[in-house]
Symmetry: C2
Subunit: 258 residues, 2 copies
Amino acid sequence: MSVSKPLIFVTNDDGIFAKGIASLVEAVKPFGEVVVIAPDKPQSGMGHAITINSILRMNPSDIFGDIKAFTCSGTPVDCVKLGIYELMKRKPDLIVSGINHGDNASTNVLYSGTMSAAVEGAIEGIPSIGFSLADYHADADFSGAKIIVQKMVQSVLENQIPKGTCLNVNVPSIAASEIKGIKICRGAHAMWADFFDKRMDQFGNPYFWLSGKFEAADKTEDSDLWALEHGFASVVPIQFDMTAYQAINELKNWNIEL
Amino acid sequence: MSVSKPLIFVTNDDGIFAKGIASLVEAVKPFGEVVVIAPDKPQSGMGHAITINSILRMNPSDIFGDIKAFTCSGTPVDCVKLGIYELMKRKPDLIVSGINHGDNASTNVLYSGTMSAAVEGAIEGIPSIGFSLADYHADADFSGAKIIVQKMVQSVLENQIPKGTCLNVNVPSIAASEIKGIKICRGAHAMWADFFDKRMDQFGNPYFWLSGKFEAADKTEDSDLWALEHGFASVVPIQFDMTAYQAINELKNWNIEL
């Protein structure tokens, strides 16, 4: 009996040309057979969006040399679905998404295409990890993040991600040698204080740019934001079942009768 | 002291021209001052996507007569953000989203722009409800759903939605008189078995349509799918914190050391 190498499916939301996904491919190459399907353009902030009212394109790419790679015209979740249901002959053993340019701690999980790809993998029952570096620059230094990727991939291949969950891994933007360790956390209770930059176009009509500041009120030691600020990589288990079980009994007391 | 009427913010994902949002506006009108900000085109399947790499447009619309209404060029979550941070002078007392053409039970919450608008409202600390009818046709009959909307809005204005949650309300596609009641549920553990319809364009290049069948393996009596199939409207509390708290200790046993 021959044991085949783990099949590792790589995607992201910054698009196939981002430095982050190249770093991720390099980091996971030693662990198995790697296949990449990534968006053909940036898809940041696409959350769990899927393409249902339009078509998808998927084309081979030689961007990673001997690594099998494809571009997809859709969202990160489209990439995962195309990979699983159209492209791959067998179910991947692992899905890794990222490495995102910019952190995805706290409630950013909801907006993040990187994390939504991992959440989609979890729905499919595939061990899935989203990786993000707390540096949104195009030329960010991923050397520390690559070490964390390898440590986490090793751990996930040896252990088993708890059922119904995927992992949200964030890496601080510091030198690799300065990363203090990997901390298991919960997502901090924090949110964006948004504002809109209202401008006028050349015809005198208004348009709006979404902008904002992430307000991190919650900085207790078990949160991912605390870990990142104190030099640790954070690992948060994320579940796709959004039911608020603890609220069910309270609602039953409302006695809503027709 | 004058008590102002509740400010009710209406949005959806099927777009401002959909029958579902017109039905929702009619249903909530008696409860307060209504303001609508809805996508200018269908945004189904957009999940929690936000527009960050492009601009947003917002324009007044007289589609609902004397009800203040605006179209937005972005996603349902963009609509919520624009409404709260740009348009409204005071914080809305209630956000209602829908009525969606097609149900959003189970894991469909993740893909649903209708529900993501409600989740965004919950992040902002505003009581929020997403409504969906299990009929995706453009001319669906919303008369039963309107009764459920009024019952739920009344209940939410009288009670308090548990902190950190919003409500996912689904209505079966049956005559209003046949709806047996409103059941508090959990989201069923079910998912899409996707497939892609691969076709060739006029140049001989392949393209793909996402398609699939919702596989409802989980039909226990406390699930939303059970309720819908048995003639009840389902109400599931949805939380925006996706941390899998029950998995944290298990992960801590992995002992991941750098």
